[in-house]
C-alpha cells in the first residue's frame, strides 16, 4: 500500500489507517485530548451494560461531565440499518459497512467533540464489537480493522469475559427469542435460532479472545458478583481520570 506520499491527515486530524507504523502517532494524538474514553465489550449476557451504567452513576456523583454513547444509535444512519435488518437485506459486508457508517457519525458529531471538550465518554460496545461480529460473519479481519482506522483508541477497554453457557443462561431467563442478525441466522449456521445463537456467539467469543492481546483489552471476570466487578472497574477507572476536566452540568 502506498502510504509514504499520502501522509496527509487533512481536516480530520486523527485519521490514520490501522497500520502498525501509525499506532504511535495515533497514541500521541489521543494524548492531546483532555477527554477520557471508557469502553465496555463482551458478548450478549456478559453483564457489560450493567457495569457501565454503574460506572456512569459513580462518575456523575463524582462530578465529571459524563456522556453515554451506545452502539448503533446514530440518528442519521439508524433508519437505514433498521431497513436493512427488517427486510433482511444485509450481507456480511453491508452489515459491516452500515455499522461503520453509524459509528463514524457518532465519532464525528459526538464522541470526538466531547473528548476535545474534556468529557468522560462511556461507550457500550466499540470497534471491537464490529471486529468480533464481522469476522465471525466471514469478513476479512484486516479489512475490518482498516475500515475502523478512523477510531481513536479508548483510554481503557473493559472486556467482560464470560463462558458461553453462563451468558446464554442469563439471556434465556431474561428475554424471549433471539433476533435474526443477533443469532447469526443470516449466515446459516443452523436453522434453530437458539442453536445458531450459540454457534455464532461462540465464534464471537473466540474473536474476543484473540483481541485481548492484540488491543490490550482489560479483562474483567464477568462470573464474579456484580459488586466485585464494579469495584475492580472503578479502581481501574480512577487511575485514568486525572486528565478529565470536571465539567459540571449546572442544575
Amino acid at each position: 500500500m502506498n502510504t509514504g506520499q499520502n501522509l496527509r491527515i487533512g481536516p480530520f486530524e486523527i485519521f490514520y489507517p490501522a497500520e502498525q507504523a501509525m499506532e504511535q502517532h495515533r497514541q500521541r494524538e489521543i494524548e492531546s485530548f483532555p477527554g477520557t474514553l471508557f469502553v465496555v465489550e463482551g458478548i450478549d449476557g456478559s453483564g457489560k451494560s450493567t457495569q457501565l451504567s454503574l460506572l456512569h452513576k459513580w462518575l456523575e456523583a463524582k462530578g465529571y461531565g459524563v456522556v453515554f454513547s451506545t452502539w448503533n444509535s446514530s440518528p442519521l444512519v439508524k433508519d437505514t440499518t433498521k431497513l436493512g435488518k427488517k427486510k433482511k437485506m444485509l450481507t456480511p459486508a453491508t452489515f459491516s459497512l452500515i455499522h461503520a457508517t453509524d459509528f463514524a457519525d457518532r465519532i464525528e458529531r459526538s464522541i470526538l467533540p466531547l473528548l476535545k471538550a474534556g468529557a468522560v465518554v462511556l461507550c457500550d460496545r466499540y470497534i471491537y464489537t464490529a471486529f468480533a461480529r464481522d469476522v465471525a460473519r466471514g469478513m476479512d479481519s484486516q479489512w475490518v480493522r482498516e475500515l475502523y482506522g478512523f477510531a481513536m483508541k479508548p483510554t481503557v477497554t473493559f472486556y467482560f469475559r464470560v463462558p458461553l453457557e453462563t451468558a446464554i443462561g442469563r439471556l434465556v431467563t431474561a428475554r424471549d427469542g433471539f433476533k435474526f442478525y443477533e443469532a447469526g441466522l443470516d449466515i446459516g449456521l443452523s436453522d434453530n435460532p437458539t442453536e445458531s445463537f450459540r454457534l455464532f456467539q461462540g465464534r464471537i467469543l473466540a474473536e474476543y479472545e484473540k483481541m485481548i492481546p492484540e488491543f490490550g483489552l482489560t479483562v474483567i471476570d464477568a462470573t464474579l458478583p456484580v459488586e466485585v466487578q464494579q469495584t475492580q472497574v472503578r479502581q481501574i477507572a480512577k487511575t485514568h481520570l486525572d486528565r478529565a476536566k470536571e465539567l459540571r452540568v449546572q442544575p
Partner: protein, 286 residues
C-alpha cells in the same frame, strides 16, 4: 477470470462472473449520464442484456444518503462510509448477479469517483483504497475528461451549482462559484492521479455528444470481443433458453425492474419534499 483489488467478499465467486463490467467515470457535468443512456440503447439494439447502475441507487442506502444530504450534518467520514455501503450493496445485489447472468453492466461512476471525493475531503488515501479493495476490477474504465473552464458553463446552464458538488462542506466561505472551482479543480487533479494508477481510457469530453459517443462505441466494441462474452453470446444463439444461465438472467431482469420502479418512486418523493421545503432555486438534487 475476474479479479478484485485485493480482497474478496464472502460469497463472491469470481469464476462465474461472465459478463462485462464497463465503468464510465468523470465529474458532474462531463456527460456521463447522456453517454450511458446512448450506450445502453445501442447495446440493447445489438442484442445484449444491459444493466445500468450508479451512485446512491442501492435499495439499502440510497434513500438514507439522500435524506442525510438534505441536512447540514453529514460528516466526511460518515459520508465516505455511507457511499461505501451503497456501493457494496449494489456490487453484491446488482452488479455481481448481472455479471453472473452474462449482462453488460454499465456503471455511472465506480470506486474511483468515491475515492476521489473522499480524498478531496481529507480522507486518508490508503484507508479509502483499503475499503474498496473488495471491488471487482472492471473490464474498462472510460474516463470523460473535461477541464473546469469547460465544465462551468455546462453546469450553470443545466442544473446550477449543487451544494455537495461545489464542495460547500469542504471549503470555508459562502461563495458557491469559487468553491465549485476549487473543489472541481481538486477533484479533477485526483482523477488524473487515479487515471494512471487504474489505467483509465481517457476520452475528451469537451467534444460534442456524437463525437464522444463514437469514441465510446469503439472502446466498448473492443471489450465485447473478448472470450467470456463470446461464449455467452454463443449460448444465447444456440437457444440454451432453459439453461440456468438464462433463467438467472430472466429472474434478474424482473428483480431489476422492481428495484428501478422503487428507485423512481423514491426520487419523486425526494423531489416533492425538495419543492415543499421551498429551496426555491429550482436546481435538481444530485
Amino acid at each position: 477470470m475476474r479479479r478484485t483489488y485485493g480482497k474478496i467478499l464472502p460469497g463472491m465467486n469470481l469464476g462465474d462472473l461472465l459478463g462485462k463490467l464497463i465503468v464510465v467515470e468523470g465529474t458532474d457535468g462531463a456527460g456521463r449520464t447522456t453517454q450511458i443512456d446512448l450506450l445502453k440503447t445501442w447495446l440493447e439494439q445489438r442484442g445484449h442484456a444491459v444493466l445500468d447502475t450508479g451512485m446512491t441507487r442501492s435499495a439499502l442506502a440510497g434513500e438514507g444518503i439522500r435524506r442525510a444530504k438534505e441536512g447540514n450534518n453529514l460528516g466526511r467520514v460518515t459520508q465516505s462510509l455511507f457511499y461505501a455501503t451503497d456501493f457494496i450493496d449494489r456490487l453484491e445485489n446488482e452488479i455481481a448477479p448481472a455479471l453472473r447472468a452474462g449482462f453488460i453492466v454499465l456503471t455511472d461512476r465506480y470506486i474511483y469517483s468515491l475515492m476521489a471525493r473522499a480524498i478531496v475531503r481529507g480522507m486518508y488515501a490508503a484507508w479509502i483504497r483499503s475499503i474498496y479493495s473488495v471491488a471487482l476490477v472492471p473490464d474498462a474504465v472510460i474516463y470523460l475528461r473535461i477541464s473546469v473552464d469547460q465544465l462551468i458553463p455546462r453546469v450553470i446552464f443545466s442544473r446550477g451549482f449543487d451544494y455537495w458538488e461545489s464542495g460547500m462542506d469542504v471549503f470555508p466561505g459562502q461563495d458557491m462559484y469559487e468553491n465549485f472551482r476549487s473543489y472541481q479543480t481538486a477533484l479533477l487533479a485526483e482523477f488524473e492521479r487515479l487515471s494512471t494508477e487504474y489505467h483509465f481510457e481517457t476520452v475528451d469530453a469537451s467534444a460534442d455528444v456524437k463525437t464522444v459517443f463514437a469514441e465510446l462505441q469503439t472502446k466498448v466494441l473492443r471489450i465485447l470481443e473478448s472470450d467470456s462474452r463470446r461464449d455467452y453470446v454463443t449460448a444465447r444463439r444456440d437457444g440454451l433458453a432453459d439453461s440456468p444461465l438464462m433463467e438467472t438472467a430472466e429472474n434478474w431482469i424482473a428483480a431489476a425492474r422492481e428495484v428501478r420502479a422503487k428507485d423512481l418512486d423514491a426520487l419523486l418523493r425526494t423531489a416533492a419534499a425538495q419543492v415543499a421545503s421551498s429551496n426555491g432555486n429550482g436546481h435538481r438534487v444530485a
